[in-house]
Symmetry: C2
Subunit: 212 residues, 2 copies
């Protein structure tokens, strides 16, 4: 799967808080470029070693241009974590289809996430480093995903496909499964890892458990 296309609306979302919103299409493209390059720079070097001057050099923009969008390296990192959260969300959504039942939805969402993580391995390092650099964004990232999973579990229960008593515990359990399967097979796995099969096995665990 290709990276989900990122619209200018999404770029605007990514900026929540401390990014200065660009007014022109050209400005939005520059902001997008800065976020994409920042993902590579932070992914390779980590937050502390990454530098604004290296990011602007890689993006081919002047140092002054950077500061029309972000006040600090911290502000860029925060915007990047929000942007990645948003991209994880839309990569899962874009794989879903109204015809899918609740279980198929979970399988497709996991498979899309695994493909996304394989194509953007840096996402783990960046989200994980947020625990130290920007704890509020780290927590918001996982709480947001858990809330979306919990809503899917509830609608699966309303449709009569899932147990009626599912809630926050099961949502966090499911998120943890997906995150660690992604770490093992999408980030640490080799190119031959069969992500479709991995998602199907996780889905079977979800559907029927492991007991005989």
């Amino acid at each position: 799967m290709d990276a989900p296309k990122v619209s200018s609306t999404k770029v605007a979302n990514a900026e929540a808080g401390d990014t200065k919103t660009p007014r022109t299409e050209r400005g939005r493209r520059t902001l997008r470029k800065l976020l994409d390059v920042a993902a590579i720079e932070f992914g390779e070097k980590g937050f502390h070693e990454a530098s604004v001057s290296s990011i602007t050099r890689r993006a081919g923009v002047a140092l002054g241009t950077f500061y029309t969008y972000f006040d600090t390296k911290d502000a860029l990192f925060r915007a990047l974590v929000n942007d990645m959260s948003d991209n994880v969300k839309s990569s899962a959504r874009s794989a879903l289809d109204d015809d899918m039942n609740a279980l198929e939805t979970e399988r497709a969402a996991l498979h899309a996430f695994l493909e996304f993580a394989r194509d953007h391995k840096e996402i783990y390092r960046i989200i994980d480093e947020a625990e130290f650099v920007d704890p509020a964004s780290y927590r918001a990232h996982y709480e947001g995903i858990a809330q979306r999973i919990e809503m899917r579990l509830k609608s699966g229960a309303e449709a009569g496909e899932f147990r009626q008593d599912l809630g926050e515990v099961e949502a966090w359990a499911l998120m943890g499964m997906n995150v660690f399967i992604g770490l093992r097979y999408a980030v640490w796995g080799d190119a031959k890892s069969d992500l479709e099969d991995v998602a199907a096995r996780a889905n079977r665990l979800l559907s029927e458990g492991i007991a005989t």
Copy 2:
């Protein structure tokens, strides 16, 4: 649950690699003290802000004493990650009983881990920071846990309690469930989080899945 008692054998294990093994009981106690104080220091300040001089001050030992055990702050951090891996392992093991069936074993292991993490919240921050400070230990920590879970799944299958086709994917899924439930309820939860109930819900997901 109290912290598992840490024997001098375990201290010796924690040192794998680059700790100098103490020859006397007094030396082993000093090493244990340094590891305990390091957990607090690294947990509070993170690796980069933590300092050897602050650790020795907190432990009430001379700076020179530190260097009879560790060459560097990095070596101490590595020893601490190994020690924590070991403590997670023994906290789960000490909760298990030969009479338990395979499912009860998983519930008890998770419950013991949740209690351990509530009493040692710093463990998440330290293991997570190892991803950046000492990636090999980070990976070894999770691969070791996944291998132990996979062995338990296989013996549950041999006993006829678990499905025959369980393997690495299910082991990583189960580990991820446990880690994220621990983050939500043991580390971020309040003192009133009912960890026994949380472990029971996760165990039901494991036993029968979420589908109707």
